[in-house]
């Protein structure tokens, strides 16, 4: 039982409505997991749309998918997986109180994320040049698939665009984490912000793990 007025010493990082750091860490971790549940269902709606139209228009989807650059897509997948590694190593460094290593791995994660977004921009530009962006200027080389290929490209831009938006938000989070690490707020006793930032980043990686085969690997064998 805690008498209200007597906070004899302020525990660094402990919010006043929690009893101790452990309760706070458990609560914030659970909070991030529940948030990730909402993200699963949010992206899940898009995967639902994809499933229906992939089922309806398999050939058009294969043809459209074939026009994506598989080399860039694979490189991006590797880049993002590596960024998950550096993120996991960042959490590890935080758990051991290794401040400089933590900052190094956070920067590495952000750098790899930036590479991913850079490559994505190149791909978007390619699609623009090839007139595969849905809308007035859309033109698909195989006319018998054109109408339904436009649905594929709509899904491509919406799904990868939403994913990219989440990565940009991830940058914002990483920047905060970097600042806190630099200030010394993160210690071996209080590192749950890094842990939950890591959960978020890994989730973004997992979304791409599914986007990559569904968008890039259909119809590779045909044509």
């Amino acid at each position: 039982m805690l008498p209200e007025a007597a906070h004899q010493h302020h525990v660094p990082g402990l919010a006043h409505h929690f009893d101790n750091l452990e309760q706070q860490a458990e609560a914030t971790t659970l909070g991030m997991w529940v948030f990730l549940v909402t993200e699963v269902l949010f992206f899940g709606g898009l995967f639902m749309v994809y499933t229906v139209y992939r089922n309806w228009y398999p050939d058009a989807f294969a043809a459209a998918s074939h026009s994506l650059d598989i080399t860039l897509g694979t490189i991006n997948t590797a880049v993002l997986i590596t960024s998950s590694l550096t993120m996991a190593l960042a959490v590890h460094a935080a758990q051991l109180g290794q401040r400089k290593l933590l900052m190094l791995f956070l920067v590495a994660t952000m750098a790899l994320g930036a590479v991913f977004l850079g490559i994505k921009s190149v791909e978007y530009y390619q699609k623009f040049v090839e007139h595969h962006v849905p809308g007035a200027g859309f033109n698909f080389e195989e006319p018998q698939y054109a109408v339904h290929a436009q649905i594929f490209f709509s899904l491509y831009f919406v799904m990868t665009g939403l994913h990219a938006l989440h990565m940009i938000i991830g940058f914002g989070i990483m920047t905060f984490m970097l600042w806190w690490a630099w200030r010394g707020t993160i210690t071996a006793e209080y590192y749950s912000p890094i842990e939950i930032a890591g959960l978020y980043w890994h989730f973004v990686d997992i979304v791409w793990i599914f986007l990559f085969p569904l968008l890039y690997l259909l119809g590779r064998h045909a044509h």
């Binding site: 590797a78 997986i81 085969p213």
Partner: protein, 97 residues
């Protein structure tokens, strides 16, 4: 915090497996295996996601509540897909070419 601190080599091992699976899934895509292509691609993706969840996200060492949350989200996504596709897969009329 009562967290389990994984040794770094676990992370490196998982990383290597993830990279190998990526290579594998790309290679398989170039062969025409019919329906197996989709199954293989999704199966490998599910495996990759699982090891990211278990090891990078520490779920293997987390509470039962965390497991319930993770499995619950997958199950609910499954409800969305399964019941919606129960409509699409049983429409006996075809409205598309």
């Amino acid at each position: 915090m009562s967290a389990h601190i994984l040794p770094k080599r676990v992370y490196y091992t998982i990383f290597a497996i993830l990279m190998f699976c990526t290579y594998l899934t790309v290679q398989i895509a170039f062969f025409d295996l019919g329906a197996l292509n989709t199954i293989a691609a999704l199966g490998i993706a599910c495996f990759k996601a699982t090891i990211v969840i278990l090891f990078f996200m520490h779920v293997k060492y987390s509470t039962r509540l965390t497991w319930a949350v993770v499995l619950g989200s997958i199950f609910w996504f499954g409800i969305l897909i399964a019941l919606t596709m129960s409509d699409y897969l049983t429409r006996v009329w075809r409205t598309f070419g």
